[in-house]
């Protein structure tokens, strides 16, 4: 860098700075407005064109009185349903298929984007709802029978993605948007009615006396009532007579009686407390 020699002395520079400071301090105080600096107002209301897809006059209500709409159905999201029975394809045998759902008539096909119903499906509630309810679904005709505590959907070959039975009275204009409860919450609720437990009891030593079977405890989330137990896909070795002894709403004792002291049992314990 080249050397620079000022045209002013140090004293002259100090005097000029002091003069400039004095001039700045003598200026009057000034506050800029928000508009002068281009700021947005503290409250800003953009124009509303629709609410939940509804236009025009939109009525907002509190639904069942709790401030939100509660869906009384279990396993209502058919895009990600709880399916402990492992059903797939097209089902035409009447009875339970997805957890909590019973095929009443016709057929239902399980798809990744929902169920295609060509008939009637139902869900029986455990408890009678207090007050009014509103039955609805993404498609088809939904209804509720208070006498049998049964929610029903009837459809003719249409895709259904969700079902709902809301506490409270709603019209088409006031129906809340469907909100799934989440898979984990649905699974926990479904296990109150149905549970299937894989069981691998391999190379266990048991009392080699059929008069005194060895007992193995199995614990599970509490069910609605003492469930009906069925052993599925069962095979065993070691001449084991495997059965279920004592059972409560949340546990059972698995009995293995054998004529030899080694036993293996593999299978699934199906616990059914459905309505």
């Amino acid at each position: 860098m080249a050397d620079y020699t000022s045209a002013y002395t140090g004293a002259q520079i100090d005097a000029a700075v002091a003069k400039a400071n004095t001039a700045l301090q003598s200026l009057p105080a000034h506050t800029h407005t928000a508009a002068e600096v281009g700021a947005l107002p503290e409250t800003y209301t953009p124009p509303v064109t629709s609410v939940n897809g509804k236009t025009g006059d939109v009525v907002i209500t509190s639904g069942g009185g709790a401030g939100y709409a509660y869906n009384l159905l279990d396993n209502s999201n058919f895009r990600n349903p709880v399916n402990q029975r492992g059903v797939s394809g097209t089902i035409s045998d009447a009875g339970y298929f997805l957890d909590r759902w019973k095929l009443v008539s016709g057929s239902v096909s399980i798809g990744s984007d929902g169920i295609t119903l060509n008939g009637t499906i139902s869900q029986i509630l455990e408890m009678e709802p207090a007050g009014d309810v509103t039955a609805t679904a993404s498609a088809g005709t939904a209804s509720y029978n208070a006498t049998t505590k049964t929610y029903t959907i009837t459809a003719t070959g249409v895709l259904i993605t969700w079902a709902a039975l809301y506490e409270g009275s709603y019209t088409a204009d006031t129906l809340p948007p469907y909100v799934p409860k989440g898979y984990a919450a649905e699974l926990a609720q479904c296990k109150r009615y149905y549970n299937i437990i894989p069981y691998d009891m391999d190379d266990y030593y048991v009392n080699a006396n059929t008069a005194y079977p060895s007992m193995y405890p199995v614990f599970f989330p509490e069910m609605r009532i003492i469930p009906t137990v069925t052993l599925r896909e069962s095979w065993n070795t070691g001449s084991a007579g495997v059965s279920v002894g004592f059972i409560t709403k949340s546990s059972l004792a698995f009995q293995a009686a054998a004529t030899s002291s080694r036993v293996a049992w593999h299978g699934k314990i199906e616990l059914d407390a459905d309505l």
């Binding site: 049998t148 008069a211 009532i225 003492i226 469930p227 009906t228």
Partner: protein, 105 residues
Amino acid sequence: MDEYLVYIRVDDAGRVVDINSSAFLQDTDGWTQIDSGHGDKFHHAQGNYFPLPLFDERGIYRYKFVNDQVAERTVEEMDADYTPPEQKPTAEELLAAFFGGVKDA
């Protein structure tokens, strides 16, 4: 509301060894219908039809089927089915017997 039939299975001695409902039995061969009705007692008869479990705490069958009727077995009948486990000597008893033998020698 569906109606369910209740079935039992009985052994040669007339003891009720199993109970279930038409909701779960595909084949009722070897089973005897004893009742029918609505609700959990009939639908889930296996654990809900009888007031007490099918076995007592010793694993002895609690009910019998006599004259087309289910009844609780008497204490005497159930006791007769029970064979107490073989009593094996404890370690202390084995030691005592051993040292008793040594002392006597």
